[in-house]
């Protein structure tokens, strides 16, 4: 949350962390999303599951060792993430940025959690599995599948790897993962927690158990199909886009079924809501779930997506989900759980209520400005003059217009964080006045075997509920159907990605430049995906083709346009413009909110891995010849020299550079990182422009 707030202020003061590489926006943004998803929400769901599972099954966890591995392993992963992401060690795939050794650690810890959970279920002392546990099981298996398939990479070194998928396929797999990580890491475990903690706090059973069964099966069945709605109007095949839209709309039904089930559980206790901070947090959390799950499908409609995508609307949407649904449900759980664990009452109900109101105000002040800003951006991006030119041809005008919204958002975020700090204090005081947490013995009787006679004429679901393994397998199958239907045809059918003959692999220098682009997290703010709209084609150039990205391991389409799209950047500006722009963005673009990257102008480019990188690319199907690899460093040097020559044509820079030559640790310009980055940026989109003849160009 703190990192998020820092990011919000970087929108307002882009050079707040000037010159500190590891505090630049592009590196902190993945840290923010990873910290919220894996640290905050991950720990909340583990805590909630460990508490409720043992009570619902009347038995202790299967293995204390596995529980400890789960806890300490997870915290270690979080610490490694907090170190590696600011260092720029990233795969650049959203919410899966961590490099491969950490990915393996995540898989191991996750399996430890799953084995522990299934083991506990097998030794349970109650017959039937409560619905919350099904949600936990679905969470475990689906996250495991998603994580493994999306993290398939070929390592170059310990902390550098390339996705095995390229371009369109990488995008599809990534958003199949990204979408379902939201579904099965942020939604299903929290629904399980809702089905346990809401009835407990309200002291009445869930409104409709039948509805909860429908909720579970239809949610896990439908959710997995909807991933492509993150790629509408992109170069993804049309049929996959339509499938994503249709299933997204269908998702409203189970999601709202769940919301209604949660809210109606509170029927008859609404008077308690007035006084109980726990119930208040739950009401807003469940309402937030309902809002976000209505908004999501609406945003998946192609006509609405045309407005929402790449804009701040998406940021508003995810924060309704994160702050209201996940955040508030976690707060409710903590306010209910901590006093119970330390056998005491909450230190101050007043303070908890204050937290509730400050937090709610924070969410409102965060989300509304983002909606306003999203619509403003979309409207300004698309507005034409009568003569067919763009009204806001300079992208920057659309940025400066929404700065007041970024101010309000930062205030909203601050309020939310202040609320969380109040909770921290309140819970600390509660723990101090309570008794130390002691082990509660599980002392239920073991189950006796059911005689054959008793199960005659038994319905299928009670039968299934007693068989967790079969339930797990069935849930896995249900989840996999959607993924298989979408991904296999895209991976197999060649015609899905028409080849473009002029598209060729990156040169060694461009490849290194692309890796710097990845390291600095440029993709956080700049897309490389021009949708087939008149407004985008006029602004950026010919729309994106699937065949352009066949050598892009990983793809860098992005999901947000804080700055303009860069797909057709090549040749648009002179090399020296790029150099000045990276050194001081405000000098070339007054009013820009892009942070400066001064270190790129000094750092020496590390070419120790260049050849290895090319070899790995060959293994992934990029057609570098052995000759090209052998001459890799020579050709890199040659291309760098040409760029150096052009840069030194700028007399002002040449003078400054000549002064530097006297430094003891002087690095020739051609060996610096900026040169590689410029090489990459000047290559962007050039291949396609060469392919399109002038007639076609005007048509586009």
């Amino acid at each position: 949350m703190l990192v998020g707030l820092l990011l919000a202020f970087l929108f307002l003061f882009p050079n707040l962390t000037y010159g500190v590489e590891w505090l630049s926006f592009g590196r902190l943004r993945p840290l923010h999303t990873n910290a919220v998803i894996f640290a905050f929400i991950g720990n909340a769901l583990f805590g909630g599951i460990y508490y409720s599972l043992q009570r619902l099954l009347k038995t202790r966890m299967y293995s204390d060792v596995l529980s400890k591995i789960n806890f300490w392993g997870w915290q270690l992963i979080i610490v490694t993430a907090a170190i590696t992401l600011p260092l720029g060690l990233t795969s650049s795939k959203e919410y899966a940025e961590l490099e491969w050794p950490i990915d393996i650690a995540i898989a191991l810890v996750w399996v430890a959690f799953g084995v522990n959970m299934i083991g506990t279920i097998l030794r349970r002392r109650v017959r039937s599995l409560y619905v919350a546990i099904w949600f936990y099981i679905a969470t475990f298996i689906t996250v495991a599948v998603l994580h493994i398939f999306n993290s398939l990479v070929l390592p170059v070194s310990w902390f550098k790897s390339y996705s095995v998928y390229a371009g369109v396929q990488d995008a599809l797999v990534q958003w199949w993962y990204g979408h379902n990580a939201v579904a099965f890491f942020l939604t299903t475990p929290f629904l399980g927690l809702m089905y346990y903690f809401v009835p407990k706090a309200a002291e009445r059973p869930i409104y409709s158990y039948r509805l909860s069964i429908v909720h579970f099966w239809s949610l896990i069945f439908i959710y997995i199909w909807a991933g492509p709605h993150h790629l509408l109007y992109s170069a993804l095949p049309g049929w996959a886009q339509s499938l994503g839209v249709a299933f997204s709309i269908m998702l409203i039904a189970p999601s709202w079924g769940g919301m209604i089930n949660g809210l109606l559980t509170l029927r008859g206790v609404w008077d308690k809501v007035v006084f109980s901070p726990v119930l208040k947090f739950m009401v807003v959390a469940i309402t937030g779930y309902g809002m976000a799950t209505l908004e999501g499908p609406l945003m998946s409609l192609k006509n609405i997506n045309a407005i929402a995508h790449f804009s701040d609307w998406v940021i508003g949407h995810v924060h309704i989900g994160g702050l209201a649904w996940n955040g508030f449900l976690t707060f409710a759980m903590l306010y209910w759980l901590v006093p119970k664990l330390v056998k005491s009452n909450i230190y101050s109900t007043k303070l908890a209520n204050a937290h509730f109101w400050i937090g709610t105000l924070g969410i409102v002040l965060y989300a509304i400005p983002m909606y306003v800003s999203g619509f403003t951006q979309a409207a300004m991006w698309k507005q034409f003059n009568p003569d067919g030119t763009l009204v806001y041809g300079n992208f920057l005008e659309t940025v400066t217009q929404i700065i007041p919204m970024y101010w309000m958002r930062a205030i909203g975020g601050t309020l939310y964080l202040v609320g969380a700090l109040l909770m921290g204090y309140n819970l600390y005081k509660t723990i101090r006045k309570g008794t130390p947490v002691s082990d509660e013995e599980a002392n239920a009787l073991p189950l006796i075997k059911i005689s054959k006679k008793r199960v005659i004429g038994e319905k299928y679901h009670p039968w299934l509920e007693r068989r967790p393994i079969r339930l797990t397998i069935l849930a896995t199958l249900v989840v996999l159907i959607g993924g298989i239907v979408q991904i296999i045809p895209t991976l197999m059918v060649k015609s899905n990605i028409p080849t473009i003959s002029s598209v060729s692999p990156y040169t060694p220098l461009e490849l290194e430049g692309r890796d710097i682009y990845i390291r600095e997290g440029c993709v956080s703010c700049h897309s490389q995906m021009i949708r087939p709209f008149r407004s985008e084609v006029v602004r950026y150039g010919p729309y994106s083709r699937a065949g352009e990205f066949v050598y892009d391991h990983p793809f860098l389409w992005g999901s947000k346009r804080t700055g303009p799209d860069l797909l057709r950047l090549g040749g648009k500006y002179a090399d020296s413009w790029h150099l000045n722009h990276m050194y001081d963005p405000q000098s070339t673009s007054p009013g820009s909110i892009m942070p400066a990257y001064p270190w790129l102008l000094h750092n020496e480019l590390n070419t120790a891995m260049t050849l290895k990188k090319m070899e790995v690319m060959v293994e992934l199907g990029v057609p570098y010849s052995s000759e090209e690899i052998d001459n890799g460093l020579t050709s890199l040097d040659k291309q760098a020299e040409e760029i150096e020559k052009r840069l030194l044509e700028d007399p002002q820079y040449a003078a400054a550079y000549n002064a530097e030559t006297r430094d003891a640790n002087f690095v020739p310009l051609k060996n610096r990182e900026i040169v590689a980055l410029i090489a990459y940026m000047q290559r962007l989109g050039v291949d396609l422009s060469n392919a399109l003849d002038p007639e076609q160009k005007t048509k586009n």
Partner: protein, 55 residues
């Protein structure tokens, strides 16, 4: 829109069965689910509902 679907799908052998299979799978899933939950006895439902309170 439709021509895009056709273009990509037509290249798969025996594609005709694909949409029919998918439709059957989809409707079958929900028909089965509804049939399933409607057959629950009220007493069973009550018992399942109360699991969290049975500590």
């Amino acid at each position: 829109m439709l021509q895009h679907v056709k273009e990509h799908m037509a290249t798969i052998n025996g594609i005709g069965a694909y949409p029919i299979f998918t439709l059957l799978l989809f409707t079958g899933f929900f028909a089965g689910l509804i049939w399933w939950i409607l057959r629950f006895k009220k007493a069973t439902i009550q018992q399942l509902k109360n699991i969290p309170f049975d500590e």
